[in-house]
Amino acid sequence: MMTFQEIKKSFLAAIWFMFLTFPIMVIKVNTIEKTIEWHWWRMAAVGLGAFGLSFLWRYLIRRKEAGKRKAEVGGEDKQTLVQRLLSNPRFYLPGLIATAVMVVAFPFVFSLYQTNIMITALIYVVVGLGLNIVVGLAGLLDLGYVAFYAVGAYSYALLNVHFGVSFWMALPIGAALAFLFGILLGFPVLRLRGDYLAIVTLGFGEIIRLVLENWNEFSFGPSGIANIPKPGLFGIDLNLQQSTTFIYFLMIALALMTIFVVRRLQDSRIGRAWIALREDEVACQAMGIDKTRTKLSAFALGATWAGMGGVVFAAKTTFINPTSFTIWESIIILCVVVLGGMGSIVGVIIGAMILILLPEYLRAFSEYRMLIFGVILVLMMVFRPGGIISDVRRTYKFEGLGNKTENKSQ
């Protein structure tokens, strides 16, 4: 059903684009022969392209609105295909086994390069799940999250340089230090909310990076710290291939632990407090929820995962310097959470995979990488504002509460 109105609008868009791109697409000055070349066919291409894209855009928007209307009428028919698959045990179990086999076989089937990329993606899964606590569950927009990542990485690097602390000792220490920093930074910041909180956390993130960059005596400044040892396995000497595989499985274990803990947290009393806090602070206070403590716990627990991710990052790359911890990194992690689906664990995992793996495999089009990245983000926000897998909680809410009321009647 394509109405005349839409064709007209697309046509106007095409004309407008032809006009806009006229100077750069059609006129070309040949500086050697000092003549102007007119590429009229390009104008036609731009017009056709703009018309087509505009039409496609309108079609997709209309489909989305129609879907929304259907959902409103249908009520519970809001579950997407993925969510239905996830909740159906017939697909769920084989899917889980297949995933498990793939995960275990991955480093033996694929090359060292692939395994390395996968480790990076897994680090982002862990860190993303940590940020998911802060942003997705508690609703605190933290733009300086990378600071805790830096705290973790630097605590391993510095403790190793000065005291020869091993990876396994540094992992809990890095996590604890990040937790501590989360509380320290959280205290002054958490009186703010929304945009203000975002800006102040952004500032704190930059402060940590600038300190690391300029305090040469402490952090070796911009030249960073090299030769950080990879994690050891009971003193066995590992070659590069083996140690990469080892780190891979270590990250898998860490990711599984993170998923487990975050799930438990989500269903706990504090998790409910976070979700309530995200929805209405004043009401939370009236319910007897300690606002400061709830916010601080979200901030500090989120930071803990970043700290652990940082320790592994330092061990994996064996070299760190402050440029690894810029604001851009915070934004990528935030994108992982938002793109994947705020508050949804599966969503964050998929988000991390897409955002970290895609740019690696798109290296062939490296010039257009950022463009594609941007286009994907914009399209996502228009067509799936809740993320790829929007908050799974919403689906099991119906069943979960159904069970609860059944229990009650028994």
């Binding site: 979700i275 309530a276 929805e279 009401a283 319910m287 007897g288 009650k408």
Partner: protein, 235 residues
């Protein structure tokens, strides 16, 4: 049960309460009426600790509470129905009620109370899986009151339960307030602009003007008082 002595509360440099004293006995419904900006909501905020008073004392069952944080005050048994209802919009009705019982550990008691609520407001039972934000204003107000009751409070603070509701719904809400008071012996402190209805349901009333209590009497006497009738009842 609750005693306020010479409370002075400030927002920055602006003094909102200029020495408020009042007393609420156990099992009573007490209402605080007054015009816009008189300090009614501020009084309530001072009691529940959201805006602590700068001077004066608030005692709940003999215990000083004006230096406690809001969550500690809720734990003592004072629940609040905030102005404008403040439902959690994306949580379901049942989850909203569950949040009200946040500080409680007795699961069976919470279940019992939820059933009691569903008896009190059958419409909420019907809509228990629905998101709180999709309810109508009246239903949301019922939910807000129910949510506060889920904490099993000994004292309930209500801030303008009639705000933005149709007259019939308001009437129903006030009936329920009465019912809660007689059935559960819950002490109720009601802040209201709708002076007529509030005074009809309450035992005693305080009249507030410019941060001061200017009158206090039995609700019936206030209803017939010439000045009150002129100023607040529009007769």
């Amino acid at each position: 049960m609750l005693e306020l002595t010479d409370i002075q509360t400030f927002y920055g440099n602006i003094q909102a309460l200029k020495g408020v004293s009042m007393e609420i006995a156990k099992g009573e419904i007490v209402t605080l009426i007054g015009a816009n900006g008189a300090g009614k909501t501020t009084t309530l905020m001072s009691i529940c600790g959201a805006v602590p008073p700068r001077s004066g004392a608030i005692k709940f069952e003999g215990r000083t509470i004006d230096n406690l944080s809001p969550n500690e005050i809720v734990a003592l048994g004072i629940s609040q129905v905030p102005e404008g209802r403040r439902i959690f919009p994306y949580l379901s009705v049942a989850e909203n009620l569950d949040m009200g019982a946040f500080l409680r550990n007795d699961r069976d008691g919470v279940k019992e109370d939820m059933e009691y609520i569903f008896e009190l407001f059958p419409i909420l039972a019907e809509r228990r899986h629905q998101a709180g934000g999709t309810l109508s204003g009246g239903e949301q107000q019922m939910l807000a009151i129910s949510r506060a009751l889920m904490a099993r409070p000994r004292m309930l603070l209500l801030d303008e339960p009639s705000l933005g509701l149709a007259p019939l719904v308001v009437k129903r809400i006030f009936e329920i307030i009465r019912q809660i008071n007689t059935e559960n012996k819950t002490t109720i402190f009601l802040v209201e602009q709708n002076a007529n209805l509030a005074l009809k349901v309450a035992h005693r009333g305080y009249v507030m003007e410019n941060g001061r209590i200017i009158m206090s009497d039995k609700a019936q006497n206030l209803l017939t008082n010439e000045d009150v009738r002129k100023a607040y009842l529009g007769i």
